[in-house]
């Protein structure tokens, strides 16, 4: 595993993408004697979300591995300085980060310049973190296979997300689509 690796993992809701990402991160940490970090974009706004976050945390604890958790619902670029080349970082997930960023202030998402800055900031943050660490795993969602309709917010969200995914896959060493718990390798050398 080369230093500064970038791995992209995407899948539908409950596809097992997060567990696969955790297994992949743990595997890398064992192989490289690296340190595991979990960067969560999700913030608990309600009990359901709290329970979901708790379940993920419990799962990680049960794994017997030592995870350091960071909560970063926005401004991902701010945490890059905390990492070094021993770190294996799992970022979960890009769709949540984009949600948080787009809804930061009422109508700001309509601004074209804001949209462009937002996507370039996210891509820059990913590049910076990747360059600092041993491996960065980015988890995201498959949400672009249904009618988008005429809602401008949904169109904007879809467009930015698709653009981010395409750019990240382009930058990535490996990319996986997880279907029903099974990771399908879309990019990179097969193991």
């Amino acid at each position: 595993m080369a230093e500064g690796s970038l791995i992209f993992i995407s899948g539908g809701v409950r596809s097992g993408k997060s567990s696969y990402a955790e297994r992949a991160a743990a595997g890398l940490a064992i192989k490289t004697e690296g340190k595991l970090h979990y960067v969560a974009a999700g913030k608990a706004y309600d009990p359901e979300m709290e329970a979901r976050i708790q379940r993920h945390q419990d799962d990680r604890e049960k794994s017997g591995l030592n995870w350091t958790t960071w909560e970063k619902p926005s401004a991902l670029e701010e945490i890059s300085e905390n990492f070094n080349n021993q770190d294996i970082i799992l970022f979960d997930c890009l769709t949540t980060l984009l949600n948080n960023e787009l809804f930061r202030a009422e109508d700001v998402w309509r601004n074209r310049e804001f949209q462009e800055n937002l996507s370039s900031d996210i891509l820059r943050a990913i590049t910076e973190i990747r360059n600092k660490c041993r491996a960065l795993i980015v988890v995201s969602n498959e949400v672009l296979n249904e009618p988008i309709g005429k809602n401008e917010l949904v169109i904007t969200y879809s467009k930015i997300l698709g653009m981010l995914h395409t750019n990240i896959v382009d930058m990535a060493d490996e990319a996986y689509l997880v279907e029903a718990g099974i990771p399908i390798q879309m990019k990179g050398e097969p193991e």
């Binding site: 296979n145 995914h165 395409t166 382009d170 879309m186």
Partner: protein, 141 residues
């Protein structure tokens, strides 16, 4: 005939431009996203993107059978045209809209069903089909 599909904003058009080196190749690009409709076959390489939008237009006025007949007729016409010279090719690009929750509106359900059929027919008529996932192609036919 080459049919390209995949989710919205997955880099399908970008892939086609790279694959066929369209920057250096004469072609006609028809985009349903810009309200354009399939017109004259006046270039040897013709790209038609946004098939799902064309189907949506049709589904306002036509019944399933009519949509399918009309589409199959169009595909057959293009296949004939391709046969008249060796370097003629039609490239069809369609965004997959079939994997979400069943739409609330009957019109949207009709559109989605009709698109699914249209994509099956396009894939059957095509010599080659590629599925694009964030710029990465999977050749599925």
């Amino acid at each position: 005939m080459h049919f390209i599909t995949g989710g919205a904003f997955n880099g399908k058009s970008g892939w086609v431009k790279g694959f066929y080196q369209l920057d250096d190749t004469p072609h006609k690009w028809i985009s349903a996203y810009h309200g354009e409709v399939a017109g004259d076959l006046d270039q040897n390489l013709i790209v038609y993107e946004g098939i799902e939008l064309m189907i949506r237009e049709w589904s306002h006025a036509l019944e399933f059978e009519e949509i399918r007949d009309k589409w199959q007729e169009m595909l057959a016409k293009w296949q004939e045209w391709e046969k008249t010279a060796v370097n003629r090719k039609i490239i069809l690009i369609g965004s997959d809209i079939t994997k979400g929750i069943v739409p609330m509106e009957a019109a949207d359900r009709k559109w989605r069903d009709a698109s699914g059929w249209a994509f099956q027919d396009a894939a059957a008529a095509a010599d080659r089909v590629d599925l694009i996932w964030y710029g990465i192609s999977q050749n599925i036919k």
